[in-house]
Symmetry: C2
Subunit: 426 residues, 2 copies
């Protein structure tokens, strides 16, 4: 037994509800550990749980926990022992009742915005990284790494600084300046890669096989099964914040497609564990027209996702070869939901619509989601009489360029009453 | 009795602990309402409380309240009735134990970072605006306004959007681009003023006397006494997050000087109300060398603050004529603390130091505070054997330019193992 495996045994048993790594494609099972692909069929692995362990979790357990994702430790693969957690205060972000947005879009039922720009590095990635870096430490890794479109890089570098673990993050070299600076400021190693996110991701997959990276946990490569589970907390929080019940519809942005499927997984787990009443819900997926391989497959009725070369302003969603695309299609189709994509101008208008009706300033990914909410409400695919949650996954300050042209002062005046009068403001 | 006064009566009595507006200079008292200066001596007014009302607040009351500043409604002038509050989820920001920062600075006692970049618009201004806009609505105002160095503008515009109240915000026209865009995106009226913050402030004081602005609440002019109380919540939260006790030292940035004094007021109230054990603490104030009128008066042993023309990168602190300067001097001197100022390069290094040791990316104001923490620890004016709290009041994404020159990728490579080797990374 290796040192890594020993550490895993000690930390994951007996209090973790996780029981195995399960192939999402063929169902083969493997012991918990740093493995992400099935030896049988090369399908992606995810964490499987002991249903009876999940069923033992009570609302009271959760409510008495910390005001962070770790209140749901009983439903996550790692972090049951408080001392093992990397807790940066991630999670329990506001669920905002957006009545003015609902009115503008003709909803008669409540619309809620789950605002993950409130996380420490201002995107939902803090959720997956908190779980991944906790797992990495448990699995004996001494350095943390990732391939990123920006938000993940920010989060990995910040988490690593917090606990004093070295980090190396890989991003496309043409990323928004804000995301480069926000990552570099933490002082870890930041590598700009001349290519697309898909090129960066491929490089990281190669590196994870190299001897020099033996002790490096790539959050979205070799420890991806742990990492991806962090997104479940978005679903748990929505349910708890609604008073332990599920909304009838939700709209989530899609890059790899993972997050959308994990919210769905969380809702199913909550019902199975009787933490919420049994319910039906529909799942809706949002993409940018510049990178819509999953929405395109949905529209075509296809089961396969054909990779694309991404373009457009929603860079954090620009994954042309989305690993979880087929599972996102399954989740949406299985629920009776829909997918749509929106162009750059609609994305900008989505950002402005959300800002002026809710006070939430979203990054381009949030603009995509709100614009798709609008589009599907207008087409009737979203039922405006059903309570709906939309996920804002990132912060407008990270993609300022997207709206800066249309967001300038109403007037520039001399510092006098005369100046006010000349500008028509007095 | 005017409509305004009627509304005030209905909402402030009997559940608000506030009893009067009290002149900080001569002690004259006035009824609660939209007034900010003493008719007798022109001194600034602040909210006075009924000590017996404050003493009735219990830890249990607070702990059972919402996870926002409104859990302290029993200690604030407005918002006792839940229906009257503007609650954007502001407050209860992380108090981070910064062991790696403490180690670098030679502290043997714990150092904590109170991270207000976690507020909805990513600065402590959400606290004062939440209280001010709640008061404004109570006082019958139908539009909200402010003079701002940027963060306040962001917060006022966002809060106004959330509740659908018109806003008009005034900023120096040379502000950081990020702060202009983040304010304009909410769709309120944004006026760039050719001049310094002090010019902007003077214009707002004039406008508040104009008929056209009769129904406009200027958060930091005519409703400033309410507004300023919001900063007390920083002190309450630190005490609660430390397990209902006070730290021995705290370091806060100073612009007008108000916030530093309100944290001190909060600590005193907590002791008086027996919510924390009696304690001694020292107060430390931080300014940028480009705008250090209060720290300069401190160093000179002067009671008066001589206005300056601000320069330097810490724009959010650039108030050359600080309204609460004398009270900040009193708070620091009365506690046995100290003040210091730091130059732009020290500010940049403060931002980087905080980021690489805690994962918190602060704006320039946070860089000022951390750099002053370092400076006063090195000089011995801060006791490194005493538990210390430093306040980060804003978000690094808003002042990216300050650190962008030194925060670039470690390397830019081709997407291949060869590229990694050539960069010396493999």
């Amino acid at each position: 037994m290796t040192a890594t495996a020993q550490r895993a045994d000690r930390s994951f048993a007996p209090t973790s509800p996780a029981s195995a790594l399960v192939c999402r494609s063929c169902g083969a099972q493997y012991p918990l550990g740093p493995q992400h692909a099935c030896f049988e069929c090369f399908g992606p692995l995810e964490i499987g749980y002991d249903p009876s362990a999940l069923a033992r979790v009570t609302r009271a357990d959760i409510e008495s926990g910390p005001h962070s994702i770790w209140r749901y430790a009983g439903l996550l693969p790692v972090g049951q022992d408080v001392a093992t957690r990397v807790d940066t205060g991630t999670g329990m972000t506001p669920l905002i009742r957006a009545d003015r947005l609902a009115d503008e879009l003709g909803f008669t039922a409540p619309v809620w915005v789950k605002d993950d720009s409130a996380n420490p590095t201002h995107s939902f990635k803090d959720r997956v990284v908190s779980v991944a870096i906790t797992a990495a430490r448990e699995l004996g890794f001494t350095r943390i790494a990732c391939a990123s479109t920006g938000n993940l890089a920010n989060s990995v570098a910040a988490h690593a600084s917090r606990i004093g673990m070295p980090s190396i993050v890989f991003v496309p070299s043409d990323l928004e300046a804000a995301k480069i600076v926000q990552t570099a400021v933490y002082g870890g190693t930041l590598v700009g890669v001349e290519g697309s996110y898909d090129d960066v991701n491929r490089l990281c997959a190669q590196l994870s096989e190299e001897d020099e990276f033996e002790h490096t946990g790539f959050v979205n490569v070799n420890i991806r099964p742990y990492y991806a589970e962090g997104s479940k907390t978005l679903g748990y929080e929505v349910a708890e914040q609604l008073g332990w019940r599920l909304p009838g519809q939700y709209v989530a942005p899609m890059a790899s497609g993972s997050m959308l499927t994990k919210i769905n997984k969380a809702f199913k787990e909550l019902v199975a564990a009787e933490l919420v009443p049994s319910a039906q819900w529909k799942v809706f997926g949002a993409q940018s027209a510049g990178c819509s391989p999953i929405a395109t497959a949905f529209a075509a009725g296809a089961a396969e996702v054909v990779p694309v070369k991404p373009t457009g302003i929603a860079k954090s969603l620009n994954i042309g070869n989305p690993a979880d695309g087929p599972y996102a299609l399954d989740a949406v189709r299985g629920s009776g939901g829909a997918m749509a994509s929106v162009g750059d101008e609609e994305i900008r208008e989505g950002i402005r619509l959300l800002a002026r009706t809710t006070g939430v300033f979203a990054e381009t990914a949030g603009g995509v989601t709100v614009a798709v909410l609008k589009k599907l409400a207008e087409s009737g695919e979203l039922d405006t009489s059903v309570e709906t949650v939309v996920f804002n996954t990132g912060e407008g300050l990270k993609t300022l360029d997207a709206v800066s042209a249309g967001a300038q002062p109403t007037a520039v005046i001399a510092p006098t009453l005369k100046g006010m009068r000349e500008a028509g403001l007095l």
